[in-house]
């Protein structure tokens, strides 16, 4: 009898069934983990401790693996810089001449803006401090686009902080350990960023899909966007500051508007984390959600009896009364001190 006669044929079916049953059990476990997982609660979810621990292990390894490549790249840049110094010098001189013109315009505009702000009493966001870090690991797949960066809570990084490159917004922090943070890229399928078109101020939501150009969702208005328009963060919702460069509008293959990200101009290596406090978190939400006290009763003034006046011979046009002309007595009385509100739990 040869081996091909298969004397152990009877053991094949039970083993196959056992393997299939094991796969089903593993599938159920994985499905339960998927249901329990919430990437939004990266810091507080059940798997957060495992993720933070693995981030701390993975980051130094990939950082060490990337180091030789960076060194080789640095040597290559040094050699090419040596041989192309003359042409580089010519190019930089041309750029410098153009930049001087722009500098004069910028100084004039800055002065003009400062005067307008002073006239309008406009209050701008205070400048936020930044932390510089290096990307040490990345995932580029269609289902997850994240990076590990080598700065964490020890340097003040918190969940939600925006991450910039020299070209524009790259993403935001979704997980923090003492020395390592995980950044969610704008291209991740779970990323949603409030943006606006600079030319029209039209609002939209930048929706990542794992591809190279995220989609502009919920874009309202006719001719709200056209090819090449600059896209900035709108600051809506207070999650991100207003005015960070995001990219340029392009027409997608599906006909919809998409954004070619500004960060695609160069590999993302060094990044800046803006230690920006979301203004929603600056206030106590429980206080904000309390019902406001009822308005004070308005006293009914004793109106004097009007005396009959002689009718004018000619009607005069109605003029707007300047605010300064209103006497102080005509202004409404200031509200009394706020009364303690009744205890009430805010709506969930």
């Amino acid at each position: 009898m040869s081996f091909r006669d298969n004397p152990f044929g009877e053991v094949r079916l039970p083993l196959l069934l056992g393997a299939a049953a094991a796969a089903v059990v593993a599938l159920l476990v994985a499905f339960a983990l998927l249901m329990a997982d919430r990437r939004q609660t990266y810091q507080t979810g059940a798997s957060s401790a495992l993720r933070r621990a693995s981030d701390q292990v993975v980051a130094p390894i990939t950082g060490a693996l990337a180091a030789p490549v960076r060194w080789v790249g640095g040597v290559g840049q040094g050699i090419s810089g040596y041989f192309f110094a003359a042409s580089e010098n010519r190019r930089l001189k041309t750029e410098l001449a153009a930049a001087r013109t722009w500098r004069e315009k910028a100084v004039t505009l800055e002065d003009e803006n400062a005067r307008y702000r002073a006239l309008l009493g406009l209050t701008l966001d205070p400048p936020a401090p930044m932390v510089t870090a290096r990307a040490v690991s990345e995932s580029r797949g269609p289902y997850a686009n994240t990076r590990l960066i080598n700065a964490g809570s020890e340097r003040g990084v918190k969940v939600g902080h925006p991450v910039l490159t020299e070209n524009g917004l790259a993403g935001r922090v979704i997980g923090v350990t003492p020395r390592i943070s995980r950044m969610l890229m704008l291209t991740d399928a779970a990323s949603r960023t409030p943006v606006m078109i600079q030319r029209t101020r039209a609002r939209a939501i930048l929706t990542g899909d794992g591809g190279w150009a995220p989609e502009l969702s919920y874009l309202r208005g006719r001719d709200a966007a056209k090819e090449g328009d600059l896209v900035l963060t709108s600051g809506d919702g207070g999650v991100l500051p207003r005015g960070f460069a995001v990219g340029r509008v392009v027409r997608g293959a599906d006909g919809g508007w998409r954004v070619r990200l500004a960060t695609d101009a160069a590999p993302i290596d060094y990044v800046r984390i803006v230690l920006f406090e979301d203004f929603v978190t600056l206030e106590d939400l429980r206080t904000l959600s309390r019902p406001s006290p009822p308005p004070p009763p308005t006293p009914v003034p004793a109106l004097p009896v009007p005396k009959p006046k002689p009718k004018p011979t000619q009607a005069k046009p109605v003029q707007a009364i300047p605010t300064q002309a209103i006497p102080a007595q005509a202004k409404p009385p200031p509200p009394p001190a706020a009364q303690p509100a009744p205890a009430r739990e805010p709506a969930a």
Binding site: L15, L16, V29, F31, D37, S137, P142
Partner: protein, 170 residues
């Protein structure tokens, strides 16, 4: 005892390929660009997921894929369970028709490997679309599928190395 009759050890046909694939995924997660292009991101664990189903039916591969998938989720920052489910979905087609695949040419194995990878990517695509509310880009999904299919020679090597390791499963 000859090499062929040597019993199949768990560490040789499950443990070593699993660790090797995770190590390769870790290396490919390095943020470097070669000739201006980023490194590809294939699903390396599809190689053993396909090969284990063809080599022999056993209980261990399913749980090894569960662990490997969770490790990929942690490494890539994906929702927990996404890659475990996808890999198991890619493992089951090979397991289901392993009798048909026995003795077939590499071309047939390659086509079935591509189908298994497609099933895994499709399941991952559906899960991501359901979890995030927006379908992932098909171009990016196709690119990852292609880079994974290009790992087929490693699957052939793994199958050839362990297919005849236990004469009961010829």
């Amino acid at each position: 005892m000859t090499a062929i009759a040597r019993p199949l050890r768990f560490s040789r046909w499950i443990g070593a390929p699993l660790l090797a694939c995770l190590a390769l995924s870790l290396v490919l997660a390095t943020p470097i660009h070669v000739l201006g292009l980023p490194l590809p991101e294939p699903v390396t664990l599809m190689v053993p997921a396909f090969a284990w189903g063809v080599i022999r039916p056993a209980l261990a591969p399913a749980f090894a894929l569960l662990l490997g998938g969770l490790a990929l989720d942690v490494l890539w920052g994906a929702p927990s369970g996404l890659w475990a489910i996808s890999l198991l979905a890619g493992y089951l087609p090979g397991l289901a028709i392993r009798n048909v695949l026995a003795g077939q040419s590499n071309l047939v194995l390659g086509v079935w490997f591509a189908v298994s990878c497609l099933v895994a990517q499709g399941v991952g695509w559906l899960i991501t679309a359901a979890v995030t509310g927006s379908p992932p880009a098909l171009a990016a999904t196709g690119l990852q599928w292609l880079s994974t299919v290009l790992l087929f020679p490693f699957a052939v090597w793994l199958i050839a190395r362990f297919r005849d390791a236990d004469v009961r499963f010829r």
